[in-house]
C-alpha cells in the first residue's frame, strides 16, 4: 500500500496528491440540510450533485437529498438561467420544500451565472423561499462552502425587528449531528435560550421509522433564521469556520459576536460553558460539573498511557486544532497538524497552541495533503494518527493506529451520532485514543509483558 510515496521530500507546488479537503458545494449542501424542510440545490452539472450526495451519504449513512440544475452543453454556453428557473418550478411542484437553498458549482461560477438575478426573476409560489450562495470550488474548501451557505441564509432571511428576543445565536462549526445535539444539551443545562444554525441533528441522524421522508423532523426553522437578527449576541464555535457567519449577522442585524474554538477538550469546553454562563448569568449546574469531574478523573487515571506519545492530526482546520488541544491536555505531542483547507490563520492558531503548552518541534500546515503528511511520517514517525477514513492507507503502510475523528468517515458506523465536543465528547475521545494506544501495546508486547491489569 502506498509504496509510491517516496521518503525524500520534493518540491511539489502544483500537484495535489491525496487531498484533505473537498469542494465548497459539499459544505453548502451539508449546511442546507440543517435547515428544516429545505431542499439544497446544486446549480451546475448533474455529476457534482450526485458526487456530493454520495459523499455525505457515505459519511452519515443516511440519505442526503439535493436537486441539480442538470446543466447540459447548452447551459455551459448560454448560462444556466433557464435551467434554474425550470428547476425551481419543478422542485416546488413535486418535492414541495418550504425553501430551496441554491449553491453554485465551478461551472456556473466560471460561466458567470448571476444567481441573484435569476432568483428574482423566478416564479416562487406564495409563502415559499429561494436563497442562494456562491460556492466556487476553486476557492477555499468544503469548510468555505459551509459558512458561505450559512451566511446566505442570514443575508436573505435574518431581520432585526428592533425587539430583542433574549436568545443566543449559535453557529456550531463544521461538526456532526451528534456534536450539535451535545451543544444543545449543554445550552439547555445552562438555561440558555438559543437559536442554532444550521442544525443537522434529527436530519442526518434521523431515526428509522419505516417511512422515508425527504424532510425529517430536525433542522433550524425559517422562523428561527429570521429571528436570528433579534438575538442578543452570537457565538461562533470553531473560529476558522464560524466567524464569517457571525460577522455576516453582525453586519446585517447588528448582533455582536464572539468566537471560540470548537469545544473539544477541557479548556475549550470550559470556555464554551463560561461564555454561556456570562450570557445567561446562570450558575453552572452540578450535572455539568460532574461531567467535568469525571473527565478529570479519567485523564488522571490514564495519563501514563498517553504521556509524550506523538500524534499526527489531519482534517478540517477547527477540528484539527481542537484535537491538538485535547491531545496536549492528555500529555501527547501533536507532532504534525495538517489541514487541506487553505488559510494562514490555521498556522498561527496552531503555533499559539504549541506555545501555550510549551511544546516544540511540531509542524503545522494549512493547504497540505496526506501525501506530504505520509512523507513526514516516513522520515519521523508518530505513535498515533487522528483523522478521517482516508488516513487508513497511511495507517496501514506505516503500521500506526488510526483514531477516526472528523470528516469524512466512510468506513465505520456510529461516529456521526456521538459527540466529540463537550466534556462528554472529551470522555469519548479519551476512550477512543486510549483504546487505540493500549490495544497496540497489547498487540506488540512480548508474551511475558502482556498485562491483565492496565
Amino acid at each position: 500500500m502506498l509504496e509510491l510515496t517516496p521518503k525524500k521530500l520534493s518540491d511539489r507546488s502544483t500537484l495535489r496528491i491525496n487531498p484533505i479537503k473537498t469542494c465548497q458545494p459539499v459544505g453548502a449542501m451539508y449546511a442546507a440540510l440543517g435547515v428544516h424542510q429545505c431542499m439544497p440545490h446544486s446549480h451546475g452539472s448533474q455529476g457534482c450533485c450526485s458526487f456530493h450526495r454520495m459523499f455525505l451519504t457515505r459519511h452519515f449513512k443516511d440519505p442526503a437529498i439535493a436537486s441539480s440544475s442538470s446543466f447540459t452543453e447548452g447551459a455551459s454556453v448560454f448560462g444556466g438561467g433557464s435551467n434554474l428557473k425550470t428547476a425551481i418550478k419543478n422542485i416546488f411542484d413535486i418535492y414541495d420544500p418550504e425553501i430551496i437553498a441554491v449553491h453554485t458549482t465551478c461551472l456556473s461560477e466560471t460561466i458567470g451565472d448571476d444567481l441573484s438575478g435569476y432568483i428574482q426573476d423566478a416564479k416562487v409560489p406564495e409563502g415559499k423561499l429561494v436563497v442562494h450562495t456562491n460556492t466556487p470550488s476553486y476557492v477555499g474548501s468544503h469548510i468555505t462552502g459551509y459558512y458561505n451557505m450559512i451566511s446566505g441564509f442570514i443575508k436573505y432571511l435574518s431581520e432585526s425587528t428592533g425587539e430583542k428576543n433574549g436568545k443566543l445565536a449559535l453557529f456550531p462549526g463544521f461538526v456532526n449531528p451528534g456534536d450539535m445535539r451535545e451543544m444543545k444539551r449543554l445550552m439547555k443545562l445552562m438555561g440558555t435560550e438559543f437559536i442554532m444554525l444550521p442544525d443537522t441533528s434529527g436530519v442526518l441522524d434521523a431515526p428509522m421509522t419505516g417511512n422515508y421522508t425527504m424532510y425529517p423532523k430536525g433542522g433550524t426553522t425559517i422562523a428561527d433564521i429570521r429571528d436570528l437578527g433579534n438575538c442578543e449576541m452570537s457565538l461562533g464555535l470553531g473560529e476558522l469556520t464560524s466567524e464569517f457567519a457571525a460577522d455576516t449577522l453582525e453586519k446585517k442585524c447588528k448582533v455582536p459576536y464572539k468566537t471560540l474554538p470548537l469545544p473539544i477538550g477541557v479548556e475549550n469546553t470550559d470556555a464554551f460553558i463560561m461564555a454561556l454562563n456570562q450570557f445567561s448569568k446562570n450558575e453552572v449546574p452540578y450535572e455539568i460539573e460532574e461531567e467535568r469531574g469525571q473527565l478529570m478523573d479519567i485523564l488522571l487515571d490514564s495519563h501514563q498511557y498517553t504521556h509524550n506519545k506523538t500524534v499526527a492530526i489531519f482534517g478540517d482546520p477547527d477540528t484539527v486544532l481542537g484535537m491538538a488541544q485535547i491531545a496536549l491536555e492528555m500529555g501527547m505531542i501533536p507532532k504534525y497538524m495538517v489541514t487541506g483547507t487553505p488559510g494562514a490563520a490555521f498556522d498561527r492558531k496552531a503555533a499559539a497552541l504549541l506555545e501555550k503548552f510549551g511544546v516544540e518541534g511540531c509542524t503545522a500546515k494549512q493547504a497540505g495533503d496526506l501525501f506530504e503528511l505520509h512523507q513526514w511520517i516516513k522520515n519521523d514517525p508518530v505513535d498515533l494518527l487522528i483523522g478521517g477514513t482516508h488516513g487508513k492507507q497511511v495507517a496501514r503502510a506505516e503500521d500506526i493506529p488510526l483514531v477516526r475523528v472528523g470528516f469524512p468517515i466512510i468506513d465505520r458506523y456510529v461516529h456521526s451520532y456521538l459527540p466529540i465536543v463537550g466534556y462528554k465528547g472529551a470522555i469519548r475521545l479519551a476512550e477512543l485514543i486510549l483504546n487505540a494506544l493500549m490495544d497496540r501495546q497489547d498487540r506488540d508486547c512480548e508474551d511475558e509483558d502482556l498485562e491483565m491489569v492496565m
Binding site: N18, S76, Y138
Partner: protein, 449 residues
C-alpha cells in the same frame, strides 16, 4: 399511471408499467432540471472505466472536488501495483481559472515525472477546463514528446452528456493507448472487456477460462497493466461483459484489429454456464468445448444444491432493482428468477431502449420500469409494489434501510464477488442475510411492541 403525486410531469415518459406498449421508455437523455437524480457524470463514467488500470497515473485537471470524490472508491482489486489508489489533481485555484490552468497542468506532469516513472498518465479534464480554454491536447502532446511516455487526454466535462458519454471517452483513451503501429499476429487468446475486478471478480472469470483451456490476453480494465493492455490487439476474440460501457470499445477493436466480440454475463448460474459455452464455441476448439461442458457440469452439481438451500428462504420474495446499466439489470432479473423471486421494480441510470425492451419481456406485466429515477419515485414504487429487497448502489442503501427494506450493494461497494458460480452463491447468501436478519424483528416502534 399510478402514484401521480410522486412523479414530475416531465418524468412521466421515463417511467412505465410493463403492460403499456407504444414507444417504450424515454431514456438516454439528460436529467430534468430540478430532479433529485441519482445520476453521475461524464467524468465519473470515464474514471470508473480507466481507474482499474493499476500502473497508470490518473491526474484530474480541475478543482479539487472531482478528484476527492473519486479517490479509491471503486473496489477494483490489484494483484500488485497500488499506484491507482492515490488521488492526483491540479487542484485549480481562482487565479488558474482567470489566467488558465495549462501552466499548472504542465508543472503537475513535471512533478509526477520528477519522482515517478509512469508508463502512461491519463489527464481527465473536468467541467471548467474547456470553459477556461485550456488546450489539454497540446499539453499532452508536448509532455509525450518531452518524456517519451503516453500522456492521454480524457476530455470528460460532466455536462457533456451522461455517464455513458464518459464510458466512450474512456474507450477512446484505451484505443489510443493500445493501437499498435502494425497489427500483430493473432494468438489464440481472448480479451475480457468490461470487468473491473470488483471484489476480485476478474480473477474468478480468468480462472474459469483457464480451467476450460482459454488463455486471456488482456483484462480491460480490471487489474490491468499497461503492458498487458498493449497486447490486446493480438487476441482472437473479445468477451464483452459490461455491455453498457464496453460495446463501443469492442466495435472499435473489431474494426481496427479485426477482433470479433461476443457479449457475455457471469451473473447467475444460467448466464455463467451459457456464456462459458458460447465462449467455447466461439473459440471453436473441440477440446475447449469438451472441457467447458465438463466444467459447467461439475460446477452446477456443486452449486445448485447449495443454492436450493437458500431458495427456501427466497422463493416468492419481491425484488426491486436500481443499477447503473441495463445489462446488469437484465442479469439480475434472471438471477432473481433462478431464486424463485419476483422482480417488481427495475430502474437504471443509463439503460438503452434495447435494454428496456428486454427487461419488459423478463418481468411480470405489472412490474414498474424506471429510467434515471429519483428517491421519491424509488420510495413510492418500492412501497407500492411491496419490495422485500432493493439491489442498488451507495445512494440507495440508506433509502432502503429507512423504508425497512433489505438491501444488497451490486455496485462499487459490493462486499463479495458476485460473478460466476461462487458469486451467485455469495449473492444468494447476501440477500438471504439481509432479508432474514434478526434486525427486522426488532425495528418496530415502541408503541407497536
Amino acid at each position: 399511471m399510478k402514484n401521480d403525486a410522486a412523479i414530475l410531469p416531465e418524468r412521466a415518459q421515463s417511467i412505465r408499467f410493463s403492460e403499456c406498449s407504444g414507444d417504450g421508455i424515454k431514456c438516454e437523455s439528460a436529467s430534468v432540471s430540478g430532479a433529485v437524480s441519482q445520476r453521475a457524470c461524464v467524468y465519473c463514467g470515464a474514471r470508473v472505466v480507466l481507474n482499474p488500470i493499476t500502473d497508470a497515473f490518473h491526474l484530474v485537471h480541475g478543482p479539487i472536488g472531482c478528484a476527492s470524490y473519486t479517490w479509491d472508491i471503486r473496489g477494483s482489486l490489484s494483484s500488485d501495483e497500488e499506484g491507482y489508489r492515490n488521488s492526483y489533481s491540479t487542484d485549480l485555484r481562482e487565479t488558474d481559472v482567470i489566467f488558465g490552468g495549462e501552466k499548472k497542468l504542465v508543472a503537475a506532469i513535471d512533478e509526477i515525472m520528477a519522482s515517478h516513472a509512469p508508463k502512461v498518465i491519463f489527464i481527465y479534464a473536468t467541467c471548467i477546463v474547456g470553459v477556461i480554454g485550456d488546450d489539454i491536447d497540446a499539453v499532452c502532446r508536448n509532455a509525450e514528446a518531452k518524456y517519451g511516455i503516453r500522456v492521454i487526454p480524457v476530455k470528460s466535462p460532466g455536462f457533456s452528456g451522461t455517464k455513458k458519454t464518459g464510458y466512450k471517452m474512456a474507450c477512446n483513451a484505451i484505443m489510443s493507448l493500445i493501437t499498435p503501429a502494425v497489427l500483430p499476429e493473432k494468438t489464440c487468446g481472448v480479451n475480457i472487456l468490461g470487468d473491473f475486478n470488483l471484489a476480485g471478480e476478474m480473477w474468478i472469470i480468468k480462472n474459469y477460462l483457464r480451467r476450460i483451456g482459454v488463455e486471456v490476453v488482456a483484462n480491460i480494465t480490471g487489474d490491468a497493466k499497461v503492458e498487458d493492455l498493449k497486447q490486446a490487439p493480438s487476441a482472437q476474440l473479445n468477451l464483452v461483459q459490461c455491455a453498457g460501457s464496453m460495446t463501443y470499445l469492442a466495435k472499435q477493436m473489431e474494426e481496427a484489429f479485426l477482433i470479433p466480440f461476443i457479449k457475455v454475463s457471469f451473473f447467475g448460474v444460467t448466464d455463467t454456464s451459457d456464456s462459458l459455452m458460447r465462449i467455447a464455441y466461439a473459440v471453436g476448439d473441440k477440446e475447449v468445448i469438451q472441457r467447458a461442458k465438463a466444467f459447467i457440469e461439475e460446477e452446477k452439481n456443486r452449486v445448485i444444491p447449495l443454492l436450493n438451500k437458500y431458495k427456501k428462504n427466497l422463493e416468492g420474495k419481491k425484488a426491486a432493482i436500481y443499477v447503473g446499466g441495463g445489462f446488469k439489470a437484465i442479469s439480475l432479473i434472471r438471477q432473481f428468477n433462478e431464486f424463485g423471486m419476483n422482480t417488481v421494480m427495475v430502474g437504471t441510470q443509463t439503460g438503452s431502449k434495447d435494454d428496456y425492451e428486454v427487461i419488459s419481456h423478463l418481468v411480470d406485466e405489472d412490474a414498474v420500469i424506471l429510467d434515471d429515477a429519483n428517491p421519491a419515485e424509488l420510495e413510492a414504487f418500492m412501497k407500492e409494489m411491496g419490495a422485500d429487497i432493493l439491489v442498488g448502489g451507495v445512494k440507495e442503501r440508506p433509502l432502503a434501510y429507512k423504508l425497512g427494506v433489505a438491501f444488497c450493494d451490486h455496485n462499487h461497494e459490493r462486499k463479495h464477488p458476485l460473478a460466476g458460480y461462487e458469486g451467485t452463491l455469495n449473492f444468494a447468501s447476501e440477500i438471504n442475510l439481509s432479508m432474514n436478519s434478526p434486525v427486522w424483528e426488532i425495528i418496530g416502534g415502541i408503541n407497536n411492541v
